[in-house]
Symmetry: C2
């Protein structure tokens, strides 16, 4: 799968079907994603690295092999710690907002 | 997540939400799963090892880092090659047939 730089220090690979979307994200050390929410259920697998997740105001430290579940609508964000970190984000339904524009 | 022996040479860890189920399966070398189908969409991540998938009568060799999509209803099976292999199966909707019986 091709990798696309989607923000400073964040590269993304994506694959999706009818009901599930998988995004494999590589983060530079120290990247922080803004707290946000969406109706899509999300499960995150930590492939490597270390990250502090914030979920509905509580912090959780996670590292390689950990798995995290974000319920639909929960408020969540991530702060990458001191090493390059790879997360596999799994969404259902698919994030239509991530899809390439038609015709591209 | 606890690991459960579900068949000879197959151990499973599971996590699920409302719409997505993740199963991490560890296979002994040489295990073959019977060809089958289900209405659930399935995406498989090969974490490590080597496996030959059969999908609707065609064979595909896959190894660590590969990702495979099984559409709803497709006929698929897997033959593990000569090393222990770990697959991450992602289903939507969740496999109700995999859930623990109520009361357990």
């Amino acid at each position: 799968m091709p990798s696309e730089a989607i923000a400073d220090g964040i590269a993304r690979q994506m694959m999706w079907g009818d009901r599930v979307m998988i995004c494999r994200l590589t983060f530079a050390p120290g990247v922080v994603t803004a707290t946000h929410s969406h109706p899509h259920e999300q499960i995150v697998l930590v492939e490597r690295g270390r990250v502090r997740f914030t979920v509905d105001g509580r912090d959780y430290l996670a590292s390689a092999g950990d798995i995290i579940h974000f319920r639909s609508g929960c408020l969540h964000g991530a702060a990458i710690l001191d090493e390059e970190t790879v997360l596999i984000d799994i969404f259902s339904p698919i994030r239509e907002d991530f899809l390439p524009a038609p015709g591209l």
